[in-house]
C-alpha cells in the first residue's frame, strides 16, 4: 500500500535532467532523413537515435557504449508526467571496458533507463558477455567523475579504479 501511495506522490523536479548536454555527444549513425520520419511526439522531448556507438576514455580505460536505440522518456511527479524529468531509455545496450585495446569486461542489458547527464551509469542485473562464465552481478555502476567501475555481486563487490 505504501509503495502505491509513494508512487502517487513521488516525483522529482529535475531541472537538470535536460538532455541537451548529451545531444552534442550522441551521434546517431543513421541519416537525418530517417530521423525526420520519426513523429515529432517521439523526438520533442529530446534526441532519438538508432545504432548508437560511443567510445570515450576514462582514465586508462576505454569505454564503449552501443545501443540499438535511444529515446527520451518523461518522468513522473505527483502522478504527473513531467517534461522536466527526462530519462534516456536504451534498448539492446552493450557496455564494454577496454584497457590498452584489450577487452576487459562487457555487459548487455535489453532495456534500461539512465539519467541524461550520464555521469553515472547504473545497470541492475546486467548480463555479463565478457569474461565468459563470469559470475552474474546484481548491479554494475560506472562513475565517470570518480573513474570508478563497481561490480556488485551477491556476496562481494569489486571496484575497478579506472585511473590506474
Amino acid at each position: 500500500m505504501k509503495k502505491e501511495i509513494i508512487y502517487l506522490v513521488t516525483g522529482s523536479v529535475i531541472i537538470g535532467a535536460i538532455a541537451w548536454v548529451l545531444i552534442v555527444n550522441l551521434s546517431p549513425s543513421e541519416n537525418r532523413d530517417d530521423f525526420s520520419k520519426i513523429p515529432r511526439r517521439f523526438t520533442a522531448l529530446g534526441p532519438y537515435a538508432k545504432n548508437i556507438n560511443l567510445t570515450e576514455n576514462i582514465g586508462n580505460y576505454g569505454l564503449n557504449i552501443r545501443a540499438e536505440r535511444l529515446y527520451v522518456k518523461k518522468g513522473k511527479f505527483l502522478g504527473f508526467d513531467s517534461a522536466l524529468k527526462r530519462k534516456y531509455v536504451l534498448n539492446k545496450y552493450y557496455l564494454t571496458l577496454y584497457k590498452q585495446g584489450t577487452k576487459m569486461f562487457e555487459v548487455y542489458k535489453d532495456k534500461f533507463s539512465i539519467n541524461p547527464l550520464l555521469k553515472r551509469i547504473e545497470i541492475d542485473s546486467p548480463q555479463v558477455i565478457y569474461p565468459e562464465n563470469n559470475e552474474q552481478p546484481i548491479k554494475i555502476k560506472l562513475d565517470k567523475d570518480k573513474k570508478l567501475f563497481t561490480i556488485y555481486y551477491k556476496n562481494k563487490t569489486d571496484v575497478w579504479n579506472l585511473a590506474n
Binding site: M1, I5, V9, V13, I18, Y71, L117
Partner: protein, 747 residues
C-alpha cells in the same frame, strides 16, 4: 552690369592670350634664359579707366610694377605706358581710394591694350557711394500664394551687387542680384506691399524704393486646385521599416513584430493570416494580438516568443492580404526571418546542477535577479531556490523519505549523504547516522531546528514567487532540440510540491531530535556511538540494536517525541494548501479540450493519458480528503483511502504512421484502511500517513514513535497500532495508458 561682365571677360581673354604667348616663346627660346637689360625692349600698355556706367575716370593714378611706371589718366580716363616684358601689377588709385588692381604679363614684341577698366575696389574700402534707389516695384499676383515682382535697376559708382526686398516693411531673408523676384508661400486673398533697395560690393545700400500703388497687390482667392486622382499605387514596405530586422539574431523573447507601410493600411485587412508569424520553417502560426495604426502594423506574440527559436513573418499580398485605404494590396508577399536569443539562464541552471556550489548558485541567482520582476523571473527564482534547497543533505533525505524525492542528478545525491539508500532504511537511521558520524560536517543536523525553520521560510518564499509567476505562458527552447513549457497548471503543480515539502519541514519542527546520551553497548563494551560509527571496523549489521539501546536510554526518552505541538496545526494547513493546488491542477487539466491537452505534451507537468488523469483524480477526490479527514477527526473508525492501480494487460498498437505504440491497460482500486488493533506493530518509514495511526486515535501524535519497529516506554505509551486494509473497491476499469515513447518501428 552687362558691360562690366563683358569687359571682365575681355580682360581675362587678354591675360589668357599672354600666357599662351609666353609659354610658346619659352618653349622655342630655351637658350635665351639670361637677358641683358641693355637689350630689353619696352612694350606699350594702354587702357581706359571707367566707372560701371562707362563714364571715364580722369585724374586717376595708374601704377605698373615691377618696372615701376606711374601715369595719370586723362580726361577720357585713358592712359598709356611702356613696360618691360614680364609679369606686372597694375594699381589704379584716385585720392586715397584704390579703384583697381590686377596683374598682366607683357610679352616682348607685343602691344597690350587693357581696354576699359572698371574699378573693383580691391581693398574693400573706400567706396562710400551707395547705388541709386531702384525704381518702384511692380507686383503681380500669380496665384493664391505667389506674387511676382520686378523693378528698374539701380546704378553705382562701382557696381550694384544685390537688391534687398521688403514685404510689408519686413526684409526678406534672401537678397537677389537681378531685378525680378517671385515671392511664394503667401496666404490667399491677402494684400502684400513691396519695396527694394540696391547695394554694392562695399556694402553701401540705397534707400528703399517708393511704395507705389503698383507695389501692392492682393493674392488670388484659394481654390481647391488639386485634381481628383484615383490611388492605384499599392502599398509597400521598406526593409528598414520592419522589426525585428531581417535575419536578426538574439531578438528578445518579448519583442514586438512590426512593419511600417508606405501608406496607411485598411485595418480590416490586418489579420493573423495577412500578417502571419510562424515558428521556424514549420509554417505553424503562433498566436498573438495584431493592431494597426495608420501605416504601422504591430504583432504582439501571446505568449511571448520562445528562446532560441527562428521565426518567419509573412505579410501577404493578394485578395486576402493587407491593403491600403484605396483597396490596393501589396504587389507581392513580404517575408523575413529572425531568431530569438538563447536562454542563458538555463545554461546557468545546468552549470549549477553539474557543479552545485555556492558560487554557481550565486551566479545563477544574480543572472535571474537581473531579469527584474517579470513572471519569467519569478519562475526562475523559484526554481533556483528550490534547487538550492534540494542540495541540502537533510532536505534531500527528507524528500526521498517523504516521497518528495529530490532528483537533481546524482551529484546532489552525493552531497546529500555518504550512504547508500540500503543503509539508510529509515529517517531515524538517517538522522542518527548523519548526526553521529560527523557532526561537524552536518551542521544542518546539529542545528536541525534552525535548518527546519530556515527551510520553511525559504519554501514560503518559493511559494510566493510561484504565486507571482502564476499565469505565465513560457516556452523554454533548449538548443533547438527540445523545449519545456510552463503555464498556470505547471505553477499549480509546483506549488503543490513546494507546500508538501514545506509541510514536512514544519512537521519535523514539532519533533524532538536531540540526543543527550551517546553511549551504547558494542561487543559487550560501552562506546560512544559517534566513535563507533566512525570506526572502519564497525559492523553495520548491529546498528538496529544499537539504535534501540540509544533510544531507550532514560536521557533520550524524549527523542522522537513531540516537543512543539503548536506546529501541527501549521502542518495540517500547509498540507491542505498543497492538496488544494494539486486538486486545482488536476481540475484544470480535466477541463482542457483534447486539442489543448495534446499541446501540453511538452509542459513541465501533464497527464498524458486517461489512466494518469483518472489516477490523479482519485488522489484528489479520495485520498487527499481522507488524509485531512483523519487529521481533523479523532474518530477510530474513520478511514484512510488510497488509490491503487493494477495493470491488466498491454499490447503494441499500430499507430498508422509507421510505428507501433505500447499501450497498457489498468484497473484502479480504492483501498480503504482502518486501524488494526491486533497485528504486530511494524513500520519502517516515516511519512505523512503513518502519523494518522497512533494509539488507536487518528491524531497527529507520536509520529516518530510509530515509525520505529520496537516497543519502548515513552510518555506516550507503548501501543503502536498500524492501519490495515479492510476493503478494496474497483474505482475504474480498462483505463488506457499510451506509452508514446515506448515504441518500435513497423517491420
Amino acid at each position: 552690369m552687362g558691360k562690366a561682365r563683358f569687359f571682365k571677360i575681355v580682360w581675362l581673354l587678354i591675360i589668357l592670350s599672354l600666357v599662351i604667348l609666353i609659354t610658346g616663346c619659352g618653349g622655342g627660346g630655351g637658350g635665351n634664359s639670361s637677358v641683358n637689360p641693355e637689350e630689353q625692349t619696352t612694350i606699350s600698355v594702354t587702357g581706359k579707366i571707367v566707372d560701371s556706367d562707362n563714364n571715364p575716370i580722369a585724374g586717376a593714378t595708374v601704377a605698373i610694377t615691377s618696372d615701376p611706371v606711374v601715369v595719370t589718366t586723362n580726361q577720357w580716363g585713358e592712359f598709356s605706358a611702356k613696360v618691360a616684358p614680364g609679369e606686372h601689377t597694375i594699381t589704379v588709385t584716385k585720392g586715397n581710394v584704390t579703384l583697381y588692381r590686377s596683374t598682366f604679363i607683357a610679352q616682348e614684341g607685343s602691344h597690350i591694350a587693357l581696354g576699359s577698366i572698371i574699378p573693383n575696389y580691391p581693398d574693400g574700402s573706400g567706396d562710400t557711394q551707395a547705388p541709386t534707389v531702384p525704381g518702384s516695384v511692380t507686383a503681380t499676383a500669380a496665384s493664391s500664394s505667389q506674387i511676382n515682382l520686378n523693378w528698374s535697376p539701380s546704378t553705382d559708382n562701382a557696381r550694384v551687387t544685390a537688391y534687398r526686398i521688403y514685404r510689408n516693411g519686413t526684409q526678406l531673408p534672401n537678397n537677389v542680384t537681378g531685378t525680378t523676384y517671385s515671392d511664394t508661400g503667401l496666404s490667399a486673398t491677402t494684400q502684400y506691399c513691396y519695396t527694394v533697395s540696391a547695394g554694392d560690393a562695399a556694402g553701401n545700400w540705397s534707400s528703399r524704393s517708393n511704395q507705389g500703388t503698383q507695389s501692392c497687390v492682393t493674392t488670388q482667392a484659394s481654390t481647391d486646385s488639386t485634381p481628383l486622382s484615383i490611388d492605384s499605387t499599392p502599398p509597400s514596405i521598406d526593409w528598414d521599416s520592419i522589426s525585428p530586422a531581417s535575419d536578426a539574431f538574439n531578438v528578445a523573447t518579448n519583442a514586438l513584430i512590426s512593419a511600417i507601410f508606405s501608406e496607411s493600411v485598411d485595418p480590416s485587412t490586418v489579420t493573423g493570416l495577412s500578417f502571419a508569424v510562424s515558428m521556424g520553417t514549420s509554417g505553424i502560426l503562433i498566436p498573438g494580438n495584431i493592431t494597426s495604426n495608420g501605416t504601422t502594423v504591430v504583432f504582439t506574440p501571446v505568449p511571448a516568443l520562445a528562446y532560441g527559436t527562428s521565426y518567419r513573418v509573412t505579410i501577404r499580398s493578394g485578395a486576402s492580404g493587407i491593403k491600403d485605404l484605396a483597396g490596393n494590396a501589396l504587389s507581392s508577399n513580404f517575408s523575413w526571418s529572425f531568431t530569438t536569443v538563447h536562454n542563458q539562464i538555463f545554461d546557468l541552471f545546468i552549470q549549477f546542477i553539474e557543479q552545485p556550489t555556492d558560487a554557481n548558485y550565486t551566479t545563477l541567482m544574480s543572472a535571474i535577479n537581473a531579469l527584474g520582476t517579470t513572471q519569467e523571473a519569478y519562475l526562475y527564482k523559484a526554481l533556483g531556490e528550490l534547487m538550492d534547497i534540494y542540495r541540502s543533505p537533510v532536505a534531500a533525505r527528507m524528500m526521498q523519505d517523504f516521497g518528495i524525492t529530490v532528483g537533481l542528478d546524482s551529484n546532489f545525491e552525493q552531497l546529500s549523504t555518504q550512504y547508500t539508500p540500503e543503509q539508510l532504511k529509515t529517517m531515524v537511521y538517517d538522522y542518527l547516522k548523519l548526526k553521529l558520524q560527523n557532526e561537524a560536517e552536518h551542521r544542518y543536523l546539529i542545528n536541525y531546528k534552525n535548518l527546519l525553520v530556515e527551510m520553511e521560510q525559504r519554501l514560503t518564499r518559493v511559494d510566493n514567487l510561484l504565486a507571482q509567476a502564476d499565469g505565465i505562458n513560457l516556452t523554454v527552447n533548449l538548443d533547438q532540440a527540445e523545449s519545456v513549457k510552463f503555464d498556470s497548471i505547471d505553477i499549480k503543480v509546483m506549488r503543490a510540491m513546494t507546500n508538501l515539502l514545506k509541510a514536512n519541514f514544519i512537521y519535523l519542527q514539532s519533533v524532538n531530535l536531540n540526543i543527550i546520551n551517546y553511549t551504547v553497548t558494542y561487543n559487550g563494551s560501552p562506546v560512544d556511538i559517534r566513535d563507533l560509527i566512525n570506526d572502519p571496523a564497525y559492523d553495520d549489521t548491529q546498528f538496529d540494536a544499537i539504535v534501540r539501546e540509544l533510544c531507550n536510554k532514560t536521557e533520550n526518552q524524549n527523542l522522537f517525541t513531540y516537543s512543539d505541538r503548536s506546529k501541527l496545526t501549521a502542518f495540517r494547513n500547509t498540507l491542505a494548501t498543497a492538496f488544494s493546488h494539486y486538486g486545482n491542477a488536476v481540475t484544470a487539466i480535466q477541463g482542457l479540450t483534447p486539442e489543448e491537452s495534446e499541446t501540453r505534451f511538452l509542459n513541465a507537468f501533464s497527464l498524458d493519458s486517461d489512466y494518469t488523469l483518472e489516477l490523479a483524480k482519485s488522489v484528489r477526490d479520495s485520498m487527499m480528503p481522507s488524509i485531512l479527514n483523519c487529521i481533523d477527526n479523532n474518530d477510530p473508525l474513520i478511514e484512510f483511502i488510497s488509490p491503487r492501480s493494477e495493470q491488466t494487460g498491454q499490447e503494441y498498437v499500430d499507430g498508422g504512421d509507421g510505428f507501433y505504440y505500447l499501450q497498457k491497460y489498468y484497473d484502479i482500486y480504492l483501498d480503504h484502511f482502518c486501524f488494526d488493533t491486533t497485528n504486530t506493530l511494524y513500520a519502517y518509514t516515516i511519512n505523512a500517513y503513518n502519523l494518522l495511526s497512533v494509539n488507536g486515535s487518528k491524531t497527529l501524535r507520536d509520529m516518530a514513535v510509530e515509525t520505529d519497529n520496537f516497543v519502548r516506554n515513552t510518555p506516550q505509551g507503548t501501543n503502536y497500532l498500524p492501519y490495515r486494509l479492510y476493503n478494496s473497491v474497483i474505482y475504474l476499469t480498462g483505463l488506457v495508458e499510451k506509452l508514446w515513447d515506448d515504441f518500435f518501428e513497423m517491420p
